[in-house]
């Protein structure tokens, strides 16, 4: 599998660490335990498109967001997390 790193370009997936669902945002300071429970444990696991965090550990050491189809492994895009830098 090739992962499109927004900085390094298309790279072998073995350079990356996968973290999973990039959807949920960490609850703000003071949020209740239930919100944090959802953030930590209730992560999306769709059969289809998912936006997920990958870490280019053996490359530019950046976290990126990759859009991928979990049924076909087809990767449709790599981007920086959050607002554009």
């Amino acid at each position: 599998m090739r992962i499109p790193c927004p900085f390094c370009g298309s790279r072998d997936s073995r350079e990356f660490v996968h973290r999973g669902d990039a959807g949920p945002a960490r609850p703000a300071d003071g949020a209740d335990a239930e919100a944090m429970f959802d953030y930590v444990y209730q992560r999306a696991n769709p059969a289809g498109l998912i936006r997920e965090h990958w870490y280019h550990a053996q490359g530019c050491r950046n976290w990126i967001v990759v859009e991928r189809d979990t049924r076909s492994h087809a990767v449709s895009g790599g981007a920086w997390p959050g607002p554009a830098r």
Binding site: M1, S13, R14, F37, Y41, N45, P46, I50, T70, H73
Partner: protein
């Protein structure tokens, strides 16, 4: 017809024309069922069998989207063991081991349960101590465990790389009662025995939704073969747990990951039992047909594709060559991938769901095969009595909320690390 050498011989005289189907290929019953189990794998069929045999429930159906045993039950490396360290896990897996030990007589089906031992190699002092801790826990739970030193390992598996290894073998944790079982036979054996007790096995019947009543309680399933009413619905769909509960609007603390496995061409017997490498990702056994059956780590990304990628193939083979370089000229014949429902602490869930009428058997990660008998037994117990079986009390869904986790590896809520 009862299976035995005598019936086999009798049939041989008649060119085996007398054998009927091993199980009835049933149609959904209009009247519905007391319990519908979703998932015709080992766990689902075992659940149905024990519902019928132990609890006397015979209005039971198992629905399967494809052919029974086509998911993880037919895509694993057939290892059975009860070498767990934590009190939430060990009684359950030891119960499973005891059920394996009597399974063939119970089912009248030879599932080739073969207790040739499971040996986990260790390569460092801390790893030795961790295995000692685990072995001691196993002994406290009545299971067998032995801690071997290097010489003890050498006596068992002299062909390991003891001289030139990057991470030399120091010893191993051995469970002699561990071993393998013929995975397909387990499925067929449970199917045949359940069918004989009146359970309906309905293949090519995919879950598409849930029937609910006004209160939101689940009263049956929608399927590709129409609605089927049920007093209770039990899910035993392994890697597809998240997809199944999503039909009811639920989310589980589970991610689906692909685990690859490999088999070599047939070879004369060399590997005595199961051997796992402790300084890399590699485990191996040898089937009765002679194939080296081996695997390693999960690919590490969410997947429903039932196949993996090259990095893991290389990683597994590197592990194999590191620990037993005499397999270098053996050829890989075939690989496959199964979808493991990796839970957030690496341990399973056998519990009620938040929806009345819907019950869960999920989160088996990549170790569900060895659990098959006890998983069926305990899920049947839960479905029939609505109380957890005594060996499965820790497998609660709410443990992620309460923090009463069962994390054998201690890696936390990152499923691909378990």
């Amino acid at each position: 017809m009862r299976y035995s050498i005598f019936s086999l011989a009798r049939q041989a005289l008649h060119r085996h024309r007398g054998w009927g189907p091993a199980w009835r290929d049933a149609e959904p019953a209009e009247a519905g069922y007391d319990v519908v189990i979703v998932g015709g794998g080992g766990h689902g069929l075992a659940t149905a069998y024990y519902l019928a045999r132990v609890h006397g429930l015979t209005r039971v159906a198992v629905i399967e989207k494809g052919w029974i045993g086509g998911g993880n039950a037919g895509r694993n490396t057939t290892i059975i063991r009860s070498n767990y360290g934590l009190p939430g896990n060990e009684p359950f897996y030891e119960f499973s081991m005891k059920l394996w030990e009597g399974l063939e007589r119970e089912l009248n089906y030879n599932a080739m349960v073969s207790q040739r031992g499971v040996l986990n190699l260790y390569h460092s002092d801390p790893q030795r101590d961790a295995y000692a801790r685990r072995g001691n826990a196993m002994r406290l739970h009545g299971a067998d465990a032995e801690l071997l030193d290097r010489d003890g390992v050498r006596a068992m598996v002299p062909f390991l790389d003891f001289e030139n290894a990057r991470f030399p073998v120091q010893g191993g944790l051995l469970q002699r009662r561990g071993g393998t079982a013929r995975h397909d036979a387990v499925v067929w054996g449970y199917a045949r025995a359940a069918s004989a007790l009146g359970v309906d096995i309905i293949q090519n019947c995919e879950l598409t939704g849930f029937l609910t009543d006004a209160s939101g309680a689940v009263t049956g399933v929608e399927t590709t073969r129409g609605p089927i009413r049920a007093g209770k619905v039990g899910l035993a769909v392994a890697g597809n747990s998240s997809r199944a509960v999503a039909l009811a609007g639920l989310t589980l603390p589970i991610e689906s990951h692909v685990l690859q496995a490999f088999v070599s061409e047939g070879l004369k017997p060399v590997i005595p039992g199961v051997v796992t490498f402790g300084a890399g990702h590699f485990y191996i056994s040898q089937s009765d047909k002679g194939g080296l059956v081996f695997g390693g780590d999960i690919d590490g990304y969410n997947s429903y594709a039932q196949r993996g990628n090259l990095p893991v193939v290389e990683d597994v083979c590197e592990g194999g060559m590191a620990v037993m370089p005499m397999i270098g000229r053996a050829r890989i014949l075939r690989s496959w991938g199964g979808i493991a429902d990796m839970s957030m602490d690496g341990s399973p869930i056998i519990d009620a769901s938040p929806l009345p009428g819907l019950w869960l058997n999920a989160g088996w990660c990549y170790g569900g095969f060895k659990a098959t008998p006890a998983s069926g037994y305990c899920f049947a117990h839960l479905l029939a009595t609505e109380t957890p079986h005594e060996t499965a009390t820790a497998f609660r869904l709410d443990r992620f909320r309460t923090g009463r986790l069962i994390d054998e590896k201690g890696v936390g809520a990152q499923p691909n690390l378990h």
